[in-house]
Symmetry: D3
């Protein structure tokens, strides 16, 4: 696992734990809802994660992009599919999406490297 991947995952986990420990009911339910949203339903999880990814890209949230890129990777999204998701994000959201695509591609490569190291 690359240092960047490790740091991203640990920080995310540590802060989520602190947030949930604050015991605000609305926030806890949002976290719970967030998980349920991407479960198998009328649409399969892979499609839903792609929907989550493209939404995160046009809204330009790097951490959200990373989260959904990782889920997509685990659910078998291929690189050519990934770039078609990016193409929709860039066309709908404009060139301001490009810097987020750069960082998403970098993150994807780290996931690929991690996988080949297993």
């Amino acid at each position: 696992m690359s240092d960047k991947l490790k740091e991203y995952r640990e920080y995310r986990q540590k802060m989520n734990d602190k947030i949930l420990a604050a015991d605000n009911k609305v926030i806890k339910r949002i976290f719970n809802l967030d998980t349920n949203t991407y479960m198998e339903g009328a649409l399969d999880s892979k499609t839903k994660e792609m929907l989550g990814l493209v939404s995160s890209m046009v809204l330009r949230c790097d951490d959200c992009v990373r989260y959904h890129v990782e889920q997509c990777h685990q659910l078998g999204v291929r690189k050519d599919e990934l770039f078609e998701i990016f193409s929709v994000a860039n066309v709908v959201g404009g060139t301001i999406v490009i810097p987020h695509m750069r960082r998403a591609v970098e993150f994807w490569e780290e996931l690929e490297a991690e996988e080949s190291n297993d």
Copy 2:
């Protein structure tokens, strides 16, 4: 065809014609690119239109939502699938997406009514 559907389509067509007649090369290429983005590729058109729809919803562009709702409808997206797309949009984008969902549901019903009148 409902009056609202008719008005939406005619205005869209009329203004697109005027915009293209202005003969700005960059804008003409964007229009062209917009069409190409949703063509069959590594991902099928139905998936891509769903990606376009969820992006339009989180970015809260009613006209874009209408356009992609119509494409989804034509490509066989079912109502339960539609609402799962909406669920991702609402979770990622928050309750500010709800008013756009209201108008999208109204538009979907007009498309359904048009279809049953054929």
Copy 3:
């Protein structure tokens, strides 16, 4: 009740009913969560509705602004307080918030007129 107020409330109710009838669990929970968010807690409801209003203004969602303006009105927010909420929204969010403030002021006046007609 002015025609505008009536139309706004009826459309909102009608479409919410249709959305909830679609029986998507995630969306139903978002609607439920939305209600709970503004209940009395560490902060009182009035403060929370003011937070909801300013958020809706900077995110420039007219329907959300209307909803929270009405809640604020019911919870006793005064006109000079309302304009201080608007002032924060305009400073943080810029002059693109002004058109939404215009419509919010118009809506506020309709609520005031309705009240004095009771």
Copy 4:
């Protein structure tokens, strides 16, 4: 003057008057600042109004777009220049800008018609 132009201008003026009458110092200073921003300086007013227009388009504020389209029109921006401003807005901001361009082109035509009626 077209009915749409008349309605837009009268509503804008009427609501601005009400807002200023509320006598909130911060809001009054924002209105004043808004006017000063586009005055001749290191950059001329025409350039500044073009900057205001492109900003309003990518932020997708129809009323702001209308305001700056009118200022640009008065300061002699030509139609081919207008479409180059639009091209930047569409490339940077993506296809979600297109519906706002449609309405901006319609508004521009009303300004042109008004001028030729003088």
Copy 5:
């Protein structure tokens, strides 16, 4: 004072000084207006800072969030109140607000640590 807190404050001060030294009248007045917006008025400063914080969160501006978290901390906002502000931001603005909440919680903890070191 933690290194992060120190770095954030020094960078902010250094760059603000450079910006004000450029002597652009509009920008100087915005900085001045920004300060005045949160002063005691019809609403007290604490409420206004909470409005500023929730606005910054839904607009997802980390530096603005930090600024208002610090003001809220100084004005006596408690941790349970802080999380209720966050809950409004997350519900209105969606899960894309979560990464900003993570960083806001981290910053809050640094302020708490600084205070207990005094």
Copy 6:
């Protein structure tokens, strides 16, 4: 060349190369279109780059701001002109633009230092 400037340029180039190597036609055309948008036309390149800069600022994309600040610098935009672009961005987009202005000013200074070192 400062380390920051070097790192920004190298990362940008490296990731753009990877993105283009993925050979997604839509994305390649967006990159191509992005270049064409700012070429001389009815408006000169300097004006167009200023339009690109102000758009990037109100949309709060630091990498895009850096790109256009550099183009503006090369095309002879002066510091007082730069701050007038910033003033429009701050007025239209609000105080959430300020942190991006801080980083833009820092980047401008690095470009100035690089130039005086040539």
